[in-house]
């Protein structure tokens, strides 16, 4: 187990370097960001040169990348164009997005798995068909439509929530945005769980458990559900990274100043330091969550062992 974890952690290094290099090159291809810094007017050449020097843009790309990576190991993520250190932007943005992601994951786990178990046990019944139809609709409707509709109905028409999230972005403000963000994945989790449960219901160990006279509740939660959760956990694990990076639409609609917002701003302003910094952290999160998911397998199914 320990060796497995170390091996996985070591594998992250090349992935990490490759990913940052790719992003670095992609942002660089977009051209000189200084040109956009002075608004509609051209920066005077001396100031432009001075700014270029300060942000290290006057050096060749490979040198910029090496300096960047060197600084990264000392915890220096560079400076955004508005003079703020990128680490400061991260300290503001990541807690918000993590909270939003947690709310989303919470909904996915609680609602998704419950509905999945419910429908999986009642295949073909009206409940099953109803939920299936519902998930179909949720998957088909784009996130921004759900988001804007809920914002308009709950926020403006009925006045149940504030249409926008304040800068503190407390948990209760994030319930609706979290639900919107989770909606599509939630539908997938329902469907995955349903299939998995329906499949395992006829497995030998379930029959044995029932024959032993175990209470139905115990059979479902301990035997059936636990074995059926492996594909679901894989999906949710991969989803954490996707939710954090892909929250741009939801964050924009509900005015949440999270990672999506910073990335969007960074790309618009062609701010290499911001974009590469945030993407780097997202890549790390993705890798770590994947490792965690793999380790969780062993908890769910002891037959899976890591040498």
């Amino acid at each position: 187990m320990g060796r497995y974890v170390i091996r996985r952690l070591l594998q992250m290094i090349p992935v990490f370097i490759g990913a940052t290099l790719l992003i670095f090159l992609m942002v660089n291809v977009m051209g000189d960001p200084i040109a956009g810094l002075c608004g509609q007017r051209e920066c005077d050449p001396a100031t432009a040169a001075q700014l270029r020097k300060e942000f290290g843009l006057d050096k060749p790309v490979w040198q910029q990348y090496l300096t960047y990576m060197g600084n990264l190991f000392t915890g220096d993520f560079g400076t955004a164009f508005n003079g703020q250190p990128v680490t400061e932007l991260m300290a503001d943005a990541f807690p918000v997005t993590i909270r939003l992601t947690l709310v989303a994951i919470f909904f996915e786990v609680v609602i998704g798995i419950t509905l999945g178990v419910l429908t999986g046990l009642r295949r073909g019944r009206p409940v099953d068909t109803g939920v299936l139809l519902l998930t179909l609709v949720v998957i088909a409707v784009p996130t921004f439509v759900t988001g804007l509709l809920l914002q308009l109905l709950l926020g403006v028409e009925w006045g149940w929530i504030r249409p926008s999230v304040s800068s503190e972005a407390t948990l209760d403000e994030l319930i609706v945005p979290g639900l919107v963000l989770a909606a599509v994945s939630l539908a997938y989790v329902t469907r995955l769980t349903r299939t998995s449960i329906a499949e395992n219901r006829r497995a030998d160990y379930v029959r044995t458990a029932i024959a032993k006279g175990l209470p139905r509740r115990r059979v479902i939660t301990r035997h059936l559900l636990r074995n059926s959760l492996i594909p679901v956990v894989t999906f949710i694990g991969a989803d954490i990274g996707a939710l954090m990076g892909g929250a741009i639409v939801t964050e924009r609609i509900f005015n949440i100043h999270g990672v999506g917002y910073q990335l969007y701003q960074g790309i618009l302003r062609q701010n290499t330091q911001t974009v590469v910094g945030f993407v780097t952290v997202l890549v790390l999160v993705f890798l770590l969550v994947n490792l965690l998911v793999d380790l969780l397998y062993a908890v769910l199914d002891p037959r899976i062992r890591y040498a």
């Binding site: 977009m30 051209g31 000189d32 960001p33 200084i34 040109a35 956009g36 810094l37 002075c38 608004g39 509609q40 007017r41 051209e42 920066c43 005077d44 050449p45 001396a46 100031t47 001075q50 300060e54 164009f81 508005n82 003079g83 703020q84 400061e88 932007l89 503001d92 709310v103 919470f106 786990v109 609680v110 914002q151 308009l152 926020g155 403006v156 006045g159 149940w160 504030r162 249409p163 926008s164 304040s166 800068s167 407390t170 948990l171 209760d172 319930i175 939660t221 301990r222 924009r252 609609i253 005015n255 949440i256 100043h257 910073q262 701003q265 618009l268 302003r269 062609q270 908890v299 769910l300």
Partner: protein, 543 residues
């Protein structure tokens, strides 16, 4: 097995927490009204560090307008430059100025505003090492080249043209005659700075200190700034509300939604998509007033194809082929006004605005347009490609409409197409590198309400925003002459003659003047926009 139990239990606790939090919310904090009421307003993240000489966009400028007062201030209604901190600015030759500042002004931290506060701030703003985006504003002051050379290192720390001569007086020597120079001093770049700006710069940036009617109470960069009325403010434009909370919105549609839901008092940028509903939603709480912004089509004069003699006829023809009225009515819902000269209506007739200047060259006339283009030798390369940046604003819509209009007038549906560029930075890049191959969108937001500001930076040879690299000796001569004129009325007259040259050559096609548009809740009153389309915050009252 043990692990699984633990998981479900913590999930339950979490669920309860969320539900509790949800029921605990509802009913937002109803803020106080009256003279201490707080106004909430939408905001955008300032692009550059928030320093007076470093701010060149509206969002940062909005804050500077609240926390700073300079020597002059532009009247929010007439745009006239009036003395604010200046007691008098005297000159005998339009080159050497003596500035005397009023007694009794302090910064909100108690430090007195002296002549040194101005001179230090200007020297800081001009110095190359400080990377100030607006450094060129100090370019007329003698010694600017030493602190901000076009290349190489600065050879001086301060400009020789600035001298403190007393506690409340300083002298300025310009490099050339510039009669209207004192009137430029209302621009935020010329604000005074307290000594803490220099001694603890990082702390100042985290919580700016100025001398205006408001003081910064708290500032969470990128998301919110709380400004409170500064009761020690000595000026006569004291704040009539308790303060302003500026909230950064990721999308102006969300800000508008918040306004209609009653969570926000003021939106100073009504999104294009909402213009259709805005009168139904807000009634007379929707403001749509002219601002000092003009949009034009510039031409690449560095491209020989676009700079052949006689081609002004083609440019005039294109101008006549654009149905400005229809486009401003349908696409912009009347938030733009068809342009009739190269300045802005906010200047007023006395300031140099002239709605008859462009005349028939700006009037839609398809038949004459077709004839003129043919006389001028046709469109270079057979097709006009109008370049614009596609990342912000609704540029695509109007460029397509302009092209449609041109195509219809010329009877050729390939005469004009849009040429989108991905990002604004890349767009500016191509302009700076002189890579434009056809007309391109240009916009000009005035720095100060002077006709000079609409002409010199845009059309003078090698001027800072002469993106098309147009040059004309006659125009340059008239501008120099106007700047040297000591009588303001005669100066404006000469500027208008220079503008006549721009018209005769159709140096750029004027399209329309942009209005400022804002909407507000019924919680507040006395809302207006100044000529820079920034709300006049200190006048807003809370019901």
């Amino acid at each position: 097995m043990h692990g699984a139990t633990h998981l479900t239990r913590s999930a339950c606790v979490c669920a309860v927490a969320v539900v509790l939090a949800a029921t605990g919310c509802g009913g937002g904090g109803g803020a106080a009204g009256g003279p201490d009421g707080i106004v909430t307003s939408s905001w955008g993240d300032p692009q550059n560090p928030l320093e007076p000489a470093n701010t060149n966009e509206v969002q940062g400028g909005k804050v500077l307008d609240m926390i700073f007062r300079g020597l002059k201030r532009y009247d929010p209604r007439t745009g006239e430059a009036e003395d604010m901190l200046a007691e008098r600015i005297e000159t005998g030759d339009s080159t050497n100025f003596t500035v005397t500042i009023k007694n009794g002004w302090t910064f909100s931290n108690g430090e007195p505003v002296t002549a040194k506060s101005f001179v230090d701030a200007w020297n800081y703003g001009a110095h190359l090492k400080n990377n100030q985006r607006n450094a060129y504003f100090f370019g007329y002051i003698d010694g600017y080249d030493d602190v901000h050379p076009e290349s190489g290192q600065p050879t001086a720390r301060t400009m020789s043209g600035l001298k403190v001569t007393g506690d409340r007086t300083f002298t300025v020597k310009l490099t050339q005659k510039f009669s209207t120079w004192p009137e430029t001093l209302g621009y935020a770049a010329f604000s005074p700075l307290p000594s803490t700006f220099f001694s603890d710069h990082a702390a100042w940036l985290a919580k700016p200190v100025g001398n205006g009617p408001y003081a910064v109470d708290s500032y969470a960069r990128g998301s919110q700034m709380s400004l409170r009325r500064w009761d020690g403010y000595p000026g006569d434009d004291k704040a009539r509300n308790g303060g302003v909370d500026l909230t950064v919105y990721t999308d102006n549609n969300t800000a508008y939604t918040d306004l209609t839901a009653g969570n926000l008092d003021l939106v100073d940028d009504v999104p294009a998509a909402q213009l259709r509903n805005v009168t139904a939603d807000l009634g007379d709480r929707y403001i749509n007033t002219p601002a000092g912004i003009i949009q034009t089509l510039a031409f690449p004069y560095y491209d020989p194809d676009w700079n052949k003699p006689g081609q002004e006829k083609v440019r005039k023809g294109l101008s006549k082929a654009i149905n400005r009225q229809q486009i401003t009515d349908t696409i912009f819902q009347k938030t733009r006004t068809p342009a009739k000269d190269w300045t802005s209506p906010v200047l007023g007739p006395d300031g140099g605005y002239d709605d008859g200047l462009c005349g028939e060259a700006c009037t839609y006339d398809p038949a004459a347009a077709k004839k003129l283009v043919a006389e001028g030798g046709g469109i270079p390369g057979g097709q006009v490609r109008i370049a614009y940046n596609a990342d912000s604003g609704s540029h695509k819509e109007w460029v397509d409409a302009v092209c449609n209009s041109i195509n219809n007038a010329l009877g050729n549906d390939k005469a004009c197409v849009g040429n989108p560029v991905g990002t604004f930075a890349d767009y500016r890049n191509q302009i700076t590198a002189s890579k434009m191959t056809g007309p391109f969108r240009a916009g000009w937001q005035m720095d100060y309400p002077l006709i000079q500001n609409f002409l010199q930076p845009l059309y003078y040879t090698n001027a800072s925003s002469n993106d098309g690299k147009w040059n004309n000796e006659e125009f340059d001569r008239l501008i120099d002459q106007a700047n040297a004129e000591t009588d303001p009325a005669r100066a404006i007259d000469t500027f208008k003659r220079a503008e006549g040259v721009v018209r005769d050559q159709m140096a750029a096609i004027p399209l329309w003047y942009q209005n400022g548009s804002a909407g507000y809740s019924d919680r507040i009153a006395n809302v207006s926009l100044n000529q820079f389309s920034v709300p006049v915050y200190e006048e807003i009252t809370v019901n």
